[in-house]
Symmetry: C2
Subunit: 240 residues, 2 copies
């Protein structure tokens, strides 16, 4: 059976301006692969409501699960929750259970639950909260869209809250052979082998090291025995 599919939406001017290097995409990609969920596409958009709404609608319709990161804090540029509500055509307002979480957290830490912080309790109607053990302000799930924080430590904690609730497929297994030859020398035999084993995925990732060319050839599949078989053939072709 085909694995569930996923897409990610990274929201934030700071990524597109080059100020910040995104870390969440690489983290989520690795976690989904281990969980047997195929990440099909990632989009990065700025803090612009029409762009966010359009991307949420397109990705939500295309895959099993969507994951967003960024834009759910207390400041004026945090507009993700409102955009998700708009994309699904539902109202949004401060929700009592989210407000209670924040009230207890700020009382415990001696800070004020002011109007700005209360914005983090704004949850679209019909959503389910996502636990945030790091800084308490919750994410949420609406439809098939998981809305999570952009700060990597919080994003990772939310992914850990969410992944066990999702039915994964067979994890994608992989083996890699490092070949000390230029891709142009291995491309012909590699293509023939990939055609013979057309139920497996063969990738070739070139590198250059101390002036010498080489490539990492990666075979991916859900069936470890098939990978073993193909890897034996690959080694016979290219091992010195």
């Amino acid at each position: 059976m085909a694995n569930p599919t996923a897409a990610m939406l990274v929201i934030g001017d700071e990524i597109l301006s080059g100020r910040t290097r995104d870390a969440n995409m690489h983290y989520l990609a690795g976690e989904l692969t281990k969980h047997g969920i195929d990440l099909k596409e990632v989009r990065v958009v700025s803090d612009d409501a029409p762009a966010i709404v359009a991307a949420v609608k397109a990705l939500s319709a295309a895959v099993t699960h969507v994951f967003t990161s960024g834009g759910i804090g207390p400041t004026h540029d945090d507009i993700t929750a409102d955009c998700i509500a708009e994309a699904f055509g539902v109202p949004i307002d401060v929700r009592e259970d989210a407000r209670a979480l924040l009230a207890e957290h700020y009382a415990n830490t001696g800070r004020e639950l002011n109007a700005a912080r209360l914005r983090m309790a704004r949850i679209p109607d019909g959503a389910t909260l996502i636990d945030n053990p790091v800084s308490i302000a919750p994410g949420f799930l609406l439809g098939n869209v998981h809305v999570m924080a952009g700060v990597p430590s919080v994003f990772q904690a939310m992914v850990a809250s969410v992944l066990p609730t999702l039915t994964g497929g067979a994890p994608l297994l992989s083996q890699t052979l490092r070949v000390q030859r230029g891709e142009g020398d291995i491309a012909g035999p590699l293509a023939a082998l990939a055609e013979e084993f057309d139920d497996l995925s063969f990738g070739s990732y070139p590198y250059q090291q101390n002036g010498a060319y080489g490539a990492n050839i990666v075979i991916r599949a859900q069936d470890g025995a098939r990978i073993d078989l193909a890897m034996t053939r690959l080694k016979a072709l290219f091992s010195e």
Copy 2:
């Protein structure tokens, strides 16, 4: 006058599987910002022809300049050039000037210009070659789409070849104030200031360090004098 806009398409299974952490997005974002070109969106798709063709069409129609990275090497999984030709509805074949570049390079380095390597001379009709001083196999420009390599050293060299040919706008300037308070404490006054200076862009990027909360507040605009003015007001609000 509004700056030219851009989008990037990253092509590669290895990014979406979590095997490789993309480095080209962050690099291009920084270069475009310095050059006064606004990066509006990035998409990452797998080595899947329909996905690549659809993304190229959508992005090419939406922005001034599109930049792709990945999938132009000699192996069977390098399908970008064919997808670009399909997106623009033009034929693709080995082109003499590209073939000559490769022939000279491989003759000089004592390697064979075999069928696999010759694939790297396949260029869609009507394209302009992009210089590759690192490993010779060229990128190309077709319509408004710049097709470049995924290997970071080659990608960066191609960006350096391309950027001087593009008319940039006024570079986006920015100043940052680091504030040692939680975002919830600064959000109210910050929103009021952002509303007053609504020709500037105000971003707030939270951090947590040794258990203390803080935020970097970034003001961006093309007009440095306006940023100076807003920054003076910002410091009066939040500096201890």
